[in-house]
Structure formats: structure tokens, C-alpha cells
């Protein structure tokens, strides 16, 4: 399990994003195609170079709307495809599909695209869109279930109960993301938010309010990957994948059967992360700590080792930069610098990967961490989607 043969062997050389919105008007096919073309051009490669295509339909559009990989190939008329697959909707996993294909020699360059498309279930505006009238969500279960999003509200109830977490502490996660989204043109929510605003938010699935849950959005991100060697001729400084992992605990998608919060997918991920990564918490210049639901971030902080179990609420207060209304771990590590899932948009980590690449290239704009060399990405929650990635610049 401690092998990491692909360490620093694969690079992300192209990124492309449509940005995220709740205004609609475009199909997922159109959005994904735009992101893909942007990423291929950003990588400085031609359509003939792309040998692999991996699709990643984000939950909300999961298994419900095209494009899959074949639709993308037809849309862009990619002539030399030797590997294609439709991957997990959470961002690290489909990148791992592409890494494996490149490392195994199945292709030289891989296109990975991720898209989100609001279902009529999770957005009133989407429900009013006549072109979405036949979309059935995975989320139309009976009310008496704690599946999918409801699973996180349910386990939040346990986490908050066991650890005496205050809403003022959860607020830090939401406010941090919004503060960072304000000057990100790709973000869906750019109106400043205060802790007081957070405390007034409407409850949706008590104990979580509408500001504790990531934002259903439309939009797409795409990435071009290649070998570290080929990346030497790419237009930007090389961003290498130092480590990538997924973790699935034994109860998987039976969310209400999870033994306890002491062991779940994040634990499986963190065990691999610290066994395989040569960069540690001390090296981290910028952190992406998934906040599809606010309390997931608290759990990541504990599992990654920044504080003891149950103490992340306090940790957020201690590492809060009140002057700038955002988190700053140890006074120097900003968190979710593009606005996170809560304010840029719920992209299952796609926004994190794109922003981490920008940070390491030195093109992250107002939230650029000067000289950033190590980005830590902790993506996903507890059940099917816990993942991590360490991206580095040499």
C-alpha cells in the first residue's frame, strides 16, 4: 500500500473552466465542450495528440445527462482515441483513471472533463427550465432515508452532538469560502458573507442550513494530463501529481450503517496519503479542504492531523483571520482559495484541482500564495467519495 510508483510521474498541463452559475441557458454538453477546448488549448496540444478521454459527471447530473466520453469524442472529433471511460463524479478518481492510462502507456495525453448540471430536484430555477423537464434525479428518494446529501446532515447531527460544535464554528467554513469567491470571476456566489449572515440562514436539513451545503450549479472544468517528461515542453511550469488516492470504507454507500465517525473513507485516504507523500503538513502552501457540507471540513482537519479528533471547531476559531474574514492555518496557509464548493460551486473537487494548478503555476490572481510549491487537496466526504491529492511544483 505504500508503493507510489507514479509519484511525480504525471503532470497536469492544461486547465479549462466555464465558471459556474445558477442562471442556466446551456446544456451540459455545451459547457463540457467549452471547458475541454480551453484545456486542450491551454496545454498547447492538438486534437490529434489526445489519446484518452475520461468523463466525470458530477452528482446532480450523475448518470442522467450527457456527455459521456464517447459524446465528447464525437463533439470534438478527436481522431486518435485509444482509451476512454466514464469515471467517478468526484474529481480525483477520474484523474487517477487518466494517470493510470498514461503511466501504463495506453496514451500520451489524456483529457479529463467534469461537469455539473442542476437537476429539477435541487434547483427551483432548474425545475422551471422546460429543457430539463425529463431529467430524473438520483435524489428523489422517500423522505425517510439518509442517503446522499441527507446522509451528511444526519452524520452532522452526530458529529455536532459528540463534539459540542457551535454554529459559529461551522460558520467559519462558509464565510471563508465566500470571502475567497468574491473576487473569483468563475464563482457563482460573490456577495460578501459574514458570520452574522450565516447564523440567520434558513435551515434546510437541520442541523444544516442552506449555507452549510454546497451550491447546485451549471458549469464544467477540464484537464489535460501527460507524463512528467512530456510536460517539459508544455507552456507553463510543470505541475506534478505527487500523490493521489481514493478511500472507501467497508459500509460504502450504506451510509446509515457506518460503524462510527472514528473510521470512514477519509481515514482510508489519510492513511495512504501520509504513507506515500513525501511532503507533509509542514510543507503545505495552500490547502483545499472539501466543504460540500461544512462539517466535512472539520472532519478533514482532524483526520489530516492538524488537530485532535473532535477539536476542529476550536481549531477554526484559533486559525481565523478576523481582519480578512477568512481562514489562515498557522497564519500562512489559506484554504479553498477559489471559493470552495460552497461559493464557487459544488464541483466535487474540480474547482480545487484547477485552482491548485493555478497556484502552483503562479497564476491564481488575488489569492496567489507567493512561491507556492505544495498544494494539499482533501476532497469528498465519508462514504463513496473520499479522495486526496498532493500537487507540487519542483
Amino acid at each position: 500500500m505504500t508503493h507510489n510508483r507514479m509519484k511525480n510521474e504525471i503532470a497536469i498541463i492544461g486547465i479549462g473552466s466555464t465558471g459556474y452559475s445558477r442562471s442556466g441557458g446551456r446544456t451540459a454538453k455545451s459547457l463540457a465542450a467549452e471547458a475541454a477546448v480551453l484545456a486542450i488549448r491551454d496545454a498547447g496540444v492538438k486534437r490529434e495528440d489526445i489519446g484518452a478521454v475520461v468523463s466525470a459527471p458530477g452528482p446532480g447530473s450523475w448518470l442522467l445527462v450527457p456527455p459521456g466520453s464517447t459524446e465528447m469524442v464525437a463533439t470534438l472529433r478527436l481522431p486518435n482515441i485509444t482509451y476512454f471511460t466514464d469515471g467517478n463524479g468526484v474529481m480525483v478518481a477520474p484523474l487517477m483513471d487518466a494517470m493510470n492510462a498514461i503511466y501504463a502507456g495506453l496514451c500520451d495525453y489524456a483529457l479529463v472533463f467534469h461537469y455539473n448540471f442542476r437537476s429539477p430536484f435541487n434547483s427551483k430555477l432548474a425545475a422551471a427550465d422546460p429543457f430539463r423537464r425529463n431529467i430524473k434525479g438520483y435524489d428523489t428518494l422517500p423522505p425517510e432515508t439518509v442517503k446522499n446529501a441527507a446522509a451528511y446532515a444526519a452524520w452532522a447531527s452526530r458529529y455536532i452532538h459528540d463534539n459540542n460544535v457551535k454554529r459559529e464554528q461551522l460558520a467559519r467554513v462558509a464565510v471563508n469560502s465566500r470571502t475567497n469567491a468574491v473576487d473569483n470571476p468563475l464563482a457563482a456566489m460573490r456577495t460578501p458573507l459574514t458570520i452574522e449572515d450565516y447564523l440567520k440562514a434558513r435551515m434546510v436539513r437541520d442541523p444544516l442550513s442552506m449555507l452549510d451545503m454546497d451550491l447546485p450549479v451549471d458549469g464544467a472544468d477540464a484537464f489535460v494530463l501527460t507524463s512528467a517528461e512530456r510536460a517539459r515542453s508544455a507552456p507553463y511550469p510543470r505541475v506534478l501529481i505527487h500523490h493521489a488516492s481514493q478511500g472507501l470504507c467497508e459500509t460504502a454507500f450504506d451510509e446509515d450503517q457506518l460503524g462510527s465517525l472514528a473510521h470512514h473513507g477519509q481515514d482510508v485516504v489519510v492513511k495512504q496519503l501520509w504513507a506515500k507523500s513525501e511532503r507533509t503538513l509542514k510543507d503545505v502552501d495552500v490547502a483545499y479542504l472539501y466543504e460540500g457540507f461544512t462539517f466535512i471540513t472539520l472532519s478533514w482537519i482532524e483526520k489530516l492531523g492538524w488537530c485532535a479528533p473532535g477539536k476542529a471547531g476550536r481549531f477554526l476559531e484559533e486559525h481565523w483571520d478576523a481582519a480578512n474574514n477568512r481562514l489562515m492555518i498557522d497564519g500562512k496557509i489559506p484554504v479553498n482559495t477559489q471559493g470552495g464548493m460552497l461559493s464557487e460551486g459544488g464541483t466535487q473537487g474540480a474547482g480545487f484541482v484547477r485552482d491548485a494548478v493555478k497556484q502552483l503555476r503562479g497564476t491564481a490572481g488575488p489569492h496567489q500564495v507567493q512561491g507556492a510549491r505544495t498544494a494539499l487537496l482533501a476532497v469528498g466526504g465519508f462514504f463513496y467519495n473520499a479522495q486526496s491529492m498532493v500537487l507540487i511544483r519542483e
Binding site: 428523489t140 423522505p143 432515508t145 444526519a154 452526530r158 435551515m203 437541520d206 450504506d254 450503517q257 460503524g259
Partner: protein
Amino acid sequence: MPGTADTSSPIWERLPNAPIDQDNRAFYEGWPVHELRVQKCADCSKWHMPPRTICPFCWSFNVVPTAVSGRGRVYLFIILSQGIESPGVTYPYPVVTIELEEQPALRFTSTMVDCALSDIKIDMPVELAWIDRSGVPFPAFRPRRGA
């Protein structure tokens, strides 16, 4: 009042929207006779949810749908402010995951009745309460009475 105990028509006709298949039909067939049936392994004696044909612990196929006591404690608790339309459901609506007394981490998720929202607490003792849903009994929970 609980729905009728009519067992004359197949359960999949009485519950047209339930995700019934061969693996879980015994679970739903327990509802009209007021039994909350959970799969129990005849070889290793462990219980599991949701219903599967193989024991996830010892991989025996010798699993038997078995009625549980219906006693347990609230392990997870949310209040839905909104949600899909469903017969008998009004929002705000409580959803509870009950840890059943038969085995640690053996849980079943439903709703609470006979209890104000503000009185539902994590770890509180509960017992089964059969309620009516479109003429069919449905397993819910209420605060436990007595022992």
C-alpha cells in the same frame, strides 16, 4: 391508526413505489403484519441492513428475515424543512436513524411520531410505532414507554 393487515394482495401491488425485489421482499412483507424484519445470519448470528441475500460478515447465504424487537436509540437525527411530496409527509419532517438494540451499528432509518420536534434528542430510547401510509402499515418510531 395503522393500516390494515390485509395480506391478500402481493406487497409490490400495495406499495407500488417501493423498490421491492427478491432480496428485500420479506422486509416489506413484514409491514402488513407489523413486523420489522431484518436479515439475520443463521450461521454467524449477525444481523445486517439493508437486506441482502449474503451475510456481509461471514458470506453465508443462509440468512433469514427475522423480526426485531423494535427497540433502540436515536443515533442520527435531522429535520427536513422541505422535500419531495410523499403521502402522509408534512414539512418540517423529522428523520431518525435508530440504532437497534439487537446489535451495535445495526440501524434503520424512518421518522418519529408522538413526539414534538423539540423533544427528539440523540441517544433517546425509542420503540416501533406502526403508522398508516396510504392504507399500508409503515414502520416509524416513538419515545419508548416503560421498559
